[in-house]
């Protein structure tokens, strides 16, 4: 589904350069849930943002569903339509109602008839447990509710992959659970997911594989059992000892 090979990314700010990604290679198979862990500044977010071209990798190749997204001839909008993204800060459209947030892209990108998009949108809002808020504006929702709407908005495009960039980091602790529940259900339905997160419980329970990154590179890849119980690398052990 996703095949990233040797991708590197360097940011330049003023006269200093920051190597955000160094030779990162990762493969995500259809139906797989991969959780990317690592300390802050390790390049997790840059990695996931490179996967739908919000950041452009300097080197390497990224193939999504058979399409090379770094090829200049690729229509990136078509690829993005197949790749859902959920952001840390939700990024709902504040001038549109919850339902309009969910139906906008299907209508203007997929050219779906409006009534069909609304039907599908209501079904998705029901799925994330927030149907009764369909006609309110995002600023009237709690953080957890907003993030669930954001998930429904991404799902409305019927994506083949879902990318989650720290979906619970901006939430009050009591709202983390409701968002994780939605993501767990999604994983159970067989959605391919790449999740950047600090939620160890979620990684342990849901992930098929865990990728551990540090300083822009992948340190260790493995099943949750391997990763949490029996990690190989010193860096991983240190990280786990710090957070657990």
């Amino acid at each position: 589904m996703i095949d990233a090979k040797n991708i590197s990314k360097t940011f330049f700010s003023h006269s200093t350069e920051v190597k955000a990604l160094v030779n990162v290679t990762a493969r995500i198979d259809p139906g797989e849930v991969v959780v990317v862990l690592g300390p802050s500044g390790s390049g997790k977010s840059t990695f996931i943002r490179c996967l739908n071209y919000l950041n452009v990798a300097d080197e390497g190749s990224i193939i999504i569903d058979g399409i090379d997204i770094l090829d200049p001839k690729t229509d990136i909008n078509k690829v993005r339509a197949e790749v859902g993204m959920v952001f840390q800060s939700f990024n709902l459209f504040p001038h549109k109602t919850v339902l309009e947030n969910v139906t906008l892209a299907p209508i203007v990108v997929r050219k779906k008839p409006k009534d069909e998009a609304i039907k599908k949108g209501m079904a998705l809002l029901d799925k994330v447990g927030i149907q009764e808020k369909a006609n309110v504006y995002p600023d009237q929702l709690s953080g957890g509710q907003q993030q669930r709407v954001a998930i429904a908005r991404a799902l409305a495009m019927e994506p083949k992959v879902m990318l989650f960039d720290e979906p619970t980091s901006a939430l009050d602790p009591e709202m983390v659970g409701e968002v994780l529940d939605v993501m767990k259900n999604l994983a159970r339905e067989g959605m391919t997911m790449v999740v950047v997160s600090h939620e160890m419980g979620f990684a342990r329970e849901v992930a098929d594989r865990v990728i551990f990154m540090d300083e822009g590179a992948i340190v260790e890849v493995g099943t949750p059992e391997h990763f949490f119980i029996n990690p190989t690398h010193e860096r991983t052990k240190l990280f786990l000892s710090q957070i657990l």
């Binding site: 739908n52 919000l54 909008n77 078509k78 993005r80 339509a81 197949e82 790749v83 859902g84 993204m85 952001f87 800060s89 990024n91 709902l92 459209f93 504040p94 001038h95 906008l104 892209a105 203007v108 990108v109 504006y137 954001a150 908005r153 991404a154 495009m157």
Partner: protein, 336 residues
């Protein structure tokens, strides 16, 4: 009642009404002092002469163009048709029924008044007001379009677009509007009309050079507002829109611009109010808008005091209506 808070409020209330009183005292004082100084000058206020510059009744006379006699007077709705039969043929004239001066069979000579009636006409101030309104509305519409496009070009990464936008904005903002109007009319206007004349096409009237100057001037300021508005929208909005597969144009149209325009509505209102007031400069290129119309009446009627007050009041009516309209739009958008 009787609680400390209520007492305090009452006290504040007394102060409040005192200062309200002071305000009205100042307003009335200014008006009165103006009135009495005008009396010192021996100025006679003739407010009753002002309404005729808005609408007036014109005396219309219908005269016969031939010798002959009234052949028939036939009713046709509210009008009557008078047929005059002469030696060389028959002529017919239409007039309101009440205005008749002849009966059937009467002899008519060339130039006789067949009927007289009064007709309402629009006065010169009204025409000026209408022209000001027309120029302003057209310039605002074009100003928005130019501003929107230039604002987008200003934040583009394409150097041709970006630098053109910057050059245009800086040139417009760095020179007086009056000079720009002269350039549009005397330089560009002459060039355009010369080219058109060489190709045998009709001339562009000065009105359109005035509109172009105002629209171009406003567009530069609107562009900067549009740019600021777009840049004030969090980057996450664009990212969210683009991650859903929207193109740059679609994300602008459905996500960024609606939010940006809502934010820049108050400064836009101020800019458009300026535009209405700046349209008073167009008088210098022979566009008879409100200010020029007033100046013309002043020179003939010698009633400068009343007329300039009326002129200012009319501008106030225009700008105040516009600001009310935009406030309404703002409230409606905030309510959603």
């Amino acid at each position: 009642m009787g609680s400390p808070i209520a007492l305090k409020r009452l006290k504040q209330g007394n102060h409040y009404y005192f200062w309200v009183g002071v305000f009205f005292f100042i307003v009335i004082g200014v008006v009165l002092s103006l009135y009495f100084s005008a009396r010192q000058l021996d100025y006679t206020w003739r407010w009753y002469r002002i309404p005729q510059y808005f609408v007036y009744q014109e005396q219309v006379e219908i005269r016969s163009e031939i010798d002959g006699e009234v052949e028939s007077i036939s009713k046709k709705g509210k009008e009557v048709v008078i047929r005059v039969k002469g030696t060389e043929g028959t002529e017919s004239y239409a007039a309101p029924a009440s205005a008749l001066g002849f009966e059937e069979g009467d002899t008519i000579y060339y130039g006789d008044v067949l009927a007289t009636y009064k007709k309402w006409r629009v006065g010169i101030l009204m025409e000026g007001l209408w022209l000001t309104l027309k120029v302003s509305i057209i310039a605002i519409v074009f100003g928005i379009l130019i501003g929107l496009f230039t604002g987008l070009a200003r934040i583009s990464s394409n150097p041709a677009l970006k630098w053109s936008a910057i050059t245009y904005i800086e040139m417009i903002r760095g020179s007086p509007l009056l000079v720009q109007i002269f350039i549009w009319y005397f330089v560009l206007g002459t060039l355009f009309n010369n080219i058109l004349a060489n190709h045998g096409i009709g001339q562009i009237p000065p009105l359109w050079f005035g509109v172009a100057a105002l629209a171009g001037f406003t567009g530069a300021y609107v562009a900067e507002m549009v740019r600021a508005g777009i840049q004030s929208i969090h980057r996450g909005q664009t990212e969210a829109a683009r991650s859903l597969g929207m193109t740059y144009v679609k994300s602008m149209r459905y996500v960024i611009l609606p939010q940006a325009l809502r934010r820049i509505l108050p400064p836009l209102a101020g800019q458009f109010i300026s535009l209405i007031k700046d349209s008073s400069l167009l008088g210098i290129i022979a566009i008879r808008e409100l200010t020029k119309a007033t100046r013309e009446i002043v020179t003939t009627s010698l009633q400068p005091f009343e007329l300039w007050f009326v002129c200012a009041l009319l501008y106030l009516v225009l700008t105040f209506s516009l600001s009310m309209l935009l406030q309404y739009l703002e409230r409606r958008q905030l309510a959603v």
